[in-house]
């Protein structure tokens, strides 16, 4: 019996949330009904002569006649004036949405569906900003915004809802302000925290569709799992550097085990990528219009799904119109063609979430049996070197200050960031050996690998070798952006025998150029 307790608790919480939503709908319906009943009352206060007349006819006059007579006597009243109240949208809304409503893809019916829709946006960054801005513009009734971060300077080149004056503000509040200014008819609900297994069920329950604009694999699996369990279609996208990817998943959103439902994220990627293969926008970079484009496409796909859906019967499988076969859209800014569409598989027969054998259920979120961070693997901080192989930025500054004429006199400084980063800023006298070139340096004794190198890399390796052998006593300092790649580089140099069997000191600057800025020179650029 005891093992049923968490399951029952979850069910109760979900039902309670559903009840809350139904009560809200009921209140809304009552308000609308009252508003139309008040048509007669809002014709204006009765004048004294009308009051007399009302008195005179009070008693003996049939009720139905009385209201009608009063309405006819109240001036000025025309039949059109009465009807005005019955239009489903306000005058302003007709004007605001006219340009999209006159298209057969939307129409009045589609507009009303959008107005009744609730869409949840997970992540208000480079994807979430344009996605929510366009959905707000299109007149989606309710937008839920989830993000636990605050706006930073480095967000502004792509996260178009956040302005310079809102740096430091929680992203959801900044986005809500932007959305309100685009369209005050949209109701925004903000969730100022990161999505977690504990809060995902309650957060998602009220919404008709979810847009995944997050930036890490753990959240992507979490969002997809919750969408399958709760029967919500999911529009997911991602972007890095000059490329983007987009999928509409769990659409149609049939229950787990129903093979006619759309595939989920786990169907496409049953196993998460190794944590050390993940590149973030902070490390790899991203072009604003690339991620912006993907966010705009997410809004587009959401509008297509929402205007197709029958809002009343959405919980019945038949309510969903048949759709295109599932596909992955790939965008690559510097390729021709830029767009490609790839046919995806259907639901995986053994999917952990959407198959008959599903092990992910509503209960598993709250019971703690799902650890998404662990599933995707934590990114370990690099800690390869011993203390005596590392030098704090402050101590290295003292080494440089010893010589007045040349800062790198008596030692070698190697910067292992990629060339474009080196070109943005570097310490005077440093030699650039990009980490990618270092990686393609063959291990000692690898047969024939020399021919695999391109000439550029060979040249760099040659220069470096000369630099290192120029004086056997000169220590070699390695620096990078944050102090991770520099440790790997030091290890590699030692494998290659550059330390001359331990005679030559080779080590890195702890914390890299970030530490240099923090502890030595606050004027050094941070990007």
């Amino acid at each position: 019996m005891a093992d049923r307790i968490p399951a029952l608790e979850t069910q109760i919480r979900l039902l309670e949330a559903r009840l809350r939503r139904l009560k809200g709908d009921l209140a809304e319906a009552r308000k609308t009904a009252e508003a139309s009943a008040q048509v007669y009352e809002t014709l204006g206060p009765l004048s004294s002569s009308e009051k007399d007349l009302k008195l005179a006819i009070d008693g003996g006059f049939p009720d139905a006649w009385r209201t009608e007579t009063l309405a006819a006597l109240a001036q000025p009243v025309s039949p059109e004036a009465k009807q005005k109240k019955h239009w489903p949208l306000s005058q302003e809304e007709y004007r605001r949405y006219g340009r999209q409503m006159i298209m057969r893809e939307v129409g009045l019916e589609g507009q009303l569906k959008l107005k009744r829709s609730r869409v949840l946006i997970v992540g208000l960054g480079g994807l979430g900003c344009p996605a929510s801005a366009y959905l707000a513009g299109a007149g989606v009734g309710t937008l839920g915004l989830v993000d636990g971060d605050v706006v930073e300077d480095s967000n502004l080149h792509r996260q178009i809802l956040h302005g310079t004056e809102r740096v430091g503000m929680p992203k959801v509040l900044s986005a809500a302000e932007g959305i309100k200014s685009i369209n005050p008819w949209v109701s925004c609900r903000t969730y100022e925290s990161h999505l977690s297994a504990e809060n995902v069920m309650e957060t998602f329950l009220d919404y008709d569709l979810v847009i995944d604009c997050s930036d890490n694999p753990a959240t992507r699996y979490l969002v997809s799992d919750a969408c399958v369990v709760l029967g919500k279609p999911l529009v997911t996208a991602s972007a890095l550097r000059t490329e983007g990817q987009l999928m509409v998943l769990n659409y149609p959103p049939r229950p787990p085990g129903d093979t006619t439902g759309g595939p989920c994220y786990r169907c496409v990627f049953p196993r998460p990528p190794p944590a050390d293969s993940i590149v973030t926008c902070g490390d790899g970079g991203v072009l604003g219009p690339v991620v912006g484009l993907m966010g705009v496409l997410q809004a587009l796909e959401a509008i297509k799904v929402l205007t197709k859906t029958d809002p009343i019967s959405k919980e019945a499988a038949d309510g969903w119109a048949p759709t295109e076969p599932p596909s992955l859209t790939i965008f690559s800014a510097y390729s021709a063609p830029q767009f490609r569409s790839i046919r995806l598989r259907s639901r995986r027969a053994k999917c952990a979430t959407c198959s008959v054998q599903a092990t992910v259920t509503a209960e598993s979120f709250t019971s703690g049996s799902l650890d998404y961070i662990q599933f995707c693997g934590a990114i370990h901080s690099v800690n390869l070197l011993s203390t005596w192989e590392r030098m704090p930025a402050r101590d290295y500054a003292a080494v440089r200050n010893r010589s007045a004429d040349k800062e790198t006199k008596g030692h070698v400084l190697i910067d292992v960031r990629e060339r474009v980063q080196f070109d943005i800023c570097h310490l005077d006298g440093s030699f650039n050996l990009p980490f990618s070139c270092l990686n393609s340096w063959p291990a000692p004794g690898t047969p024939g690998s020399e021919s695999n190198e391109d000439s550029e890399t060979q040249k760099l390796h040659h220069q470096l070798q000369q630099l290192i052998v120029r004086d056997p006593d000169e220590p070699v300092y390695v620096i990078c952006r944050l102090g991770n790649d520099s440790q790997i580089a030091v290890k590699k140099f030692k494998e290659l025998g550059f330390d001359n069997g331990g005679i030559k000191w080779i080590g890195d600057i702890t914390g890299g150029l970030r530490a240099w800025k923090k502890d030595v020179d606050d004027g050094f650029p941070e990007y």
Partner: protein, 112 residues
């Protein structure tokens, strides 16, 4: 590709593309024209598994093989697309490569 076997081996010309950052492991080149031996060492027709092995041995210069292959197959997070369709629709690694095929390796992106 420049790699040609000294002995005369039947080859077929195919195109292989890398995207989603994988191109960085392949000399920063997205599109490669490959002359793939039409049979593997045992004489069986070249399939995708053989192609992956071939790419590792002859095309990939970056020593970080585990960013492409893990446990003898493409690592999790890489989609293999055969002529614009998920390889799972075509029999995955067992799919016998045909002359003129277009094979794309896509690494998933996670930024947002």
């Amino acid at each position: 590709m420049a790699e040609t076997k000294p002995e005369t081996v039947d080859v077929m010309d195919i195109t292989v593309e890398f995207t989603g950052g994988l191109e960085m492991l392949f000399s920063n080149k997205r599109k490669h024209n490959i002359s793939l031996p039409s049979k593997d060492a045992s004489g069986a027709p070249a399939n995708i598994n053989f192609l992956v092995e071939y790419l590792c041995k002859h095309v990939m210069k970056d020593p970080r093989k585990d960013l492409f292959v893990l446990d003898d197959t493409v690592r999790p997070g890489i989609l293999v697309l055969i002529n614009e369709a998920d390889w799972e629709l075509e029999g995955e690694g067992e799919y016998a490569v045909q002359k003129g095929d277009n094979i794309i390796f896509v690494s998933t992106l996670h930024g947002g």
